[in-house]
């Protein structure tokens, strides 16, 4: 169900004379997958190596007009929504195929030999050099060991990552073919092609079965000089103080500089305060963004077998009788498969809550969550689901739950107060690869032999302080961001020497009853990826493609 969008800003808090103005984004220049995001059912990720820089530049000149801008993707999305609102269903025949491009540090240096000073040390080092730091396996025989990756390992670092996305799989295939042909003619070799496809059985769900991408940062910024023409639609009634901080209930607004170079960034204390962007070096980083690509194979059978076995064991323990595989998995995610947060639905899934975008992200963690007023123009039926109550000990939603590990929301962490949480946010644009495993609890013969998973894609302006921090600092650390918790059992990795990659955490049945969940089973295995820079369209044409 789609809602109309709000067009006015919120109340001015006491310490400000006016709400700070959000910058106007250069929507013709910013690549569209950063924001609003392609959001297509079919996406192909092609990793290229540049063999001849001059020929590659010629190819870039040829490809540049096809690189989809924020303006184009926004325009399509708005058209799609308008038609859908009138017709009551997805408009037939309205399709788009988008292309975005990104370059690794070696790739940029091939094209711009003088380029020496990267903004981000992690980007310069590249993913293979940072793999161990992310907790990836380091045993030479491990599938997840960087040298065994299918793409992006030390010998096969791509220079270019091309993302082609479409509503229509055959049109996508045709465009991909054309691009690969023209690339080959320009001396670009294909290192790998990753085919992402939204699950047809459970659209929007990842391979373990959970709705993915429920919570994204609300990116601040305007897309034109028209009053209140925001990139991220605002749904909250201006009379509610939350309107200054959130776009949807629970969707905290973040200054765009955290995701796009050249714009105000987030202060780590005051969420309303735009911090003027630092001078860019090189200047052509403006309107660009870093892309993290991680090809994560998911052992779906192993995941659900563990949940089933562990739940059966737990059910014997006081306080945990009635534990099921689905409940256990949902506690470790922090959401049920439908996307409903366990904070608001502790005992069972609630698909209506999961589907309600104005309710499924509306919860604080350490304090009682109040109702938030939605603007009348949205015509929202109201949030009548049970409100979340304060859970500082992680009894309702374990501290180790994935969504709690990567976003402490209102809670302080070892880094300080709640404002710091906003400088860690990332925009996620990934989608599954491989057909889903049928009957994961009792799988038969698997035609893919386990080769399914997630093509993880994130956008941020600091790989080190955002993406890598979430992995090394929070997901993979047993005692961060809060205790009593544990490792992110769902998707984290424990690379601590001497601990044999065992992940462990505590879950509570109540104040007096807790249990330790522990496993060394790796059901998320990194099998490829890279760190890339998605330049602005003008940087692409004026710098990277220029001779």
């Amino acid at each position: 169900m789609r809602y109309g969008a709000l067009t006015t800003t919120g109340l001015t808090p006491a310490h400000l004379t006016a709400l700070p103005e959000e910058p106007i984004l250069e929507i013709k220049d910013i690549q569209g997958n950063v924001s609003p995001g392609f959001n297509k059912d079919f996406q192909t990720f092609i990793s290229f190596r540049i063999e001849d820089a001059a020929k590659a530049k010629a190819w870039l000149v040829h490809v540049a007009p096809m690189i989809s801008s924020m303006e184009e993707v926004l325009g399509f999305n708005r058209l799609f929504r308008a038609l859908r609102a009138r017709q009551g269903r997805d408009p037939a025949g309205l399709i788009a195929t988008w292309t975005n491009i990104a370059f690794s540090y070696p790739g940029l240096k091939k094209l711009v030999p003088a380029y020496r000073q990267p903004v981000d040390m992690s980007f310069a080092l590249g993913l293979p050099a940072r793999s161990a730091f992310l907790g990836d396996p380091t045993g030479p025989q491990d599938e997840g060991y960087v040298e065994n990756w299918v793409v992006g390992g030390p010998g096969s670092i791509p220079d270019i990552l091309l993302i082609v996305a479409s509503d229509d799989s055959s049109h996508l295939a045709a465009v991909v073919r054309q691009l690969e042909q023209s690339a080959a003619a320009s001396g670009l070799s294909v290192l790998y092609e990753d085919a992402g496809v939204v699950r047809s059985d459970e659209p929007g769900h990842e391979q373990f079965g959970f709705d993915d991408g429920v919570s994204q940062p609300g990116v601040r910024g305007r897309i034109s000089n028209t009053r209140n023409d925001y990139l991220t639609d605002r749904y909250i009634d201006p009379s509610d103080p939350a309107a200054a901080y959130m776009s949807r209930p629970g969707e905290l607004l973040v200054w765009p500089g955290e995701f796009i170079f050249g714009y105000a960034t987030q202060d780590d204390r005051d969420p309303l305060l735009p911090v003027p962007p630092a001078a860019l070096n090189p200047p052509w980083y403006k309107n660009g963004s870093f892309v993290v690509y991680r090809r994560l194979r998911q052992d779906v059978a192993a995941f659900w077998k563990f949940m089933q076995d562990q739940a059966a064991q737990l059910a014997q323990q006081p306080g945990f009788s009635g534990m099921t595989a689905e409940l256990l998995a949902s506690l470790l995610v922090g959401r049920w498969p439908s996307g409903a947060p366990v904070m608001r639905s502790p005992k069972s899934d609630n698909p209506q809550l999961g589907a309600d975008r104005l309710a499924n992200n509306q919860f604080f963690l350490g304090v009682d969550t109040p109702s938030i007023a939605i603007a009348p123009s949205v015509h929202y039926k109201g949030d009548h689901f049970p409100m979340a109550t304060a859970d500082p000990l992680g009894i309702t939603c374990p501290h180790a739950a994935h969504i709690r590990k990567v976003n402490p929301r209102d809670q302080s962490s070892e880094m300080g107060a709640s404002g710091d949480n906003l400088i860690r946010r990332i925009i996620r644009r990934g989608l599954p690869f491989g057909t889903p495993l049928q009957n994961p609890l009792a799988p038969g013969e698997d035609p893919l032999k386990g080769n399914r998973g997630l093509i993880f894609i994130s956008y941020q302006t600091s790989i080190e302080d955002q993406f890598e921090f979430l992995c090394n600092g929070w997901m993979n650390e047993e005692k961060r961001p809060r205790t009593p918790g544990g490792h992110d059992i769902f998707i984290g990795q424990n690379g601590t020497p001497g601990e044999n990659r065992v992940r462990r955490c505590r879950i509570f049945a109540g104040l007096g009853a807790s249990a330790t969940i522990e496993t060394a089973i790796q059901w998320v295995i990194p099998t490829g990826g890279g760190y890339f820079f998605a330049p602005s369209i003008s940087a692409l044409t004026d710098v990277l493609a220029a001779s």
Binding site: F133, L273, F364, D410, S412, A417, N476, R480, T483, G495
Partner: protein
């Protein structure tokens, strides 16, 4: 059941051979708990202004005087060893460099005036700049400049001062009862210094050789002696880094604060520390400690610090640290010298000579390890809180805000707590840190009418808290 006695930090056994010393330590910790409780109940008793929670209403408790109700939940409250204040003042790169510098003690003594008769002498004493309870001393190869060895400590000065004289001496630490007859053991103190710092340590090095008027007396333990500052590290030196101050901040965290208009409960970490005017707002530790403790108190829990009371290094995260080849994970070069795994109070990071490379040659995810601060950044510091829900929950007593935060116009990360009623400092703007955590209205406590803050009282010059506590550093 209550705790019979407070144990020394990390269950260190130095006191075991010293007559009455364990009893003295317990007496001191217990008195500090009681003093902190009284302070939050009746603030005038500790030189503060404003209202407290009222006698008998503290939700912070002394575990040797309180029968607990099971279950008791323990919570590790974490922060990282590298001081945030340095990063926000200097930026990451310069902050790492400056973290190794020594400072004159006067740089960090809040409120001290250059006309203070002791000023010149205090200026000659050194301390380290890390105010998050993690301090270190670096040994570099004089020829190559490479990092050879870093010694880390999180031991409070009180412990070492108590070793010297039974109870800590000087103005910064303890002024409570001393009834056990403990007089410490300077020989033990010397032996430990010789073991940890250098065999060359001599007894007179460890004691003040002259009075520092208003501060120290000749013959008292000198926490800023050269073996603990210029020539090494044995315990914490920054004035904010005291164990007793940590007890106070945990107690402060249990106080539920309301904005003075609208009786709105403050529930966010930065907002609490600005409003309550306790601790260092620019640190990572204090806002997190206050918030973690306050959340438990809001549930109605009685909250304390777990025994053994202390600040600890939990562990060092070396995921992704490699030998110079960029591939082979480093060995375990983190030697626990004092304490135990999970409760470390002294550790040394040094590569064994047979490895053939130095600390500087280690790569952290491919980046060279150039500064001790990069190690400190991966040390998890902690204190452990404990709490239980009493059979009869206490009626919450809401205390109006004492302060508000301003931010440096030139550096938005730098906040300053200013008493309500005082003028905005030049170069600062009013700020409201923290996301919009709800501030629900609360009912007046049944004890009496809502307490009103007397603005005249708060605007008056506060008694200096430079000698105790962690405020404003």
């Amino acid at each position: 059941m209550s705790l019979s006695q407070f144990s020394p930090p990390a269950h260190l056994d130095d006191f075991d051979s010293i007559s009455h010393q364990r009893d003295a330590w317990s007496e001191m910790i217990s008195a500090s708990f009681d003093g902190s409780i009284t302070c939050i109940e009746i603030p005038s008793t500790c030189g503060r202004v404003g209202h407290g929670v009222g006698k008998g209403n503290s939700q912070f408790y002394n575990p040797t005087k309180t029968d607990v109700v099971d279950p008791v939940v323990t919570v590790d409250i974490m922060w990282l060893g590298f001081p945030r204040t340095l990063t926000i003042t200097y930026g990451e790169e310069l902050g790492l460099q400056k973290a190794d510098d020594l400072h004159p003690l006067t740089d960090f003594l809040h409120g001290i005036s250059t006309t203070d008769p002791a000023y010149a002498q205090l200026q000659q004493l050194f301390c380290r700049p890390g105010d998050e309870y993690c301090e270190w001393h670096v040994t570099r190869d004089p020829a190559s400049g490479k990092l050879l060895r870093v010694a880390f400590t999180c031991e409070g000065p009180e412990y070492w001062s108590a070793l010297a004289s039974g109870y800590p001496s000087g103005p910064f630490y303890y002024s409570g009862p001393q009834t056990t007859g403990a007089v410490g053991d300077p020989n033990k103190l010397l032996a430990l210094y010789q073991q940890l710092a250098s065999p060359a340590v001599q007894m007179q090095d460890l004691f003040f050789q002259e009075d520092i008027p208003g501060y120290f007396l000749k013959g008292q333990y000198n926490p800023y002696n050269k073996w603990n500052t210029t020539d090494g590290v044995v315990h914490l030196t920054h004035p904010a880094n005291t164990l007793l101050a940590e007890i106070q901040i945990a107690a402060d965290g249990t106080v539920m604060r309301i904005k003075r208009t609208g009786r709105r409960l403050v529930q966010e970490a930065d907002q609490m520390i600005c409003c309550g005017a306790y601790g260092g707002v620019n640190r990572s530790s204090d806002p997190n400690i206050g918030n973690a403790v306050n959340q438990l108190a809001r549930l109605g829990a009685m909250v304390t610090l777990n025994d053994p009371v202390g600040l600890y290094m939990d562990s060092l995260n070396t995921v992704g640290w490699t030998k110079p080849d960029g591939k082979t994970p480093v060995g375990n070069y983190w030697q626990i010298i004092r304490g135990q795994p999970g409760m470390v109070v002294r550790a040394v990071y040094e590569v064994p000579p047979e490895e053939g490379f130095t600390v500087s040659d280690i790569l952290i995810g491919g980046t060279p390890l150039q500064y001790a601060g990069q190690i400190a950044r991966e040390i998890k510091m902690k204190l452990t809180g404990a709490g239980f829900i009493p059979q009869q929950k206490k009626q919450p007593q809401y205390v109006p805000c004492l302060g508000r935060c301003y931010r440096n116009s030139q550096n938005s990360s730098q906040l300053l707590i200013v008493d309500i009623g005082k003028d905005s400092p030049p170069g600062y703007e009013l700020d409201a840190p923290g996301i919009n955590v709800p501030t629900p209205q609360v009912q007046a406590p049944q004890a009496g009418p809502p307490p009103a803050l007397d603005l005249a009282e708060s605007a008056a010059e506060r008694p200096t808290t430079s000698k105790v506590g962690r405020r404003y550093y």
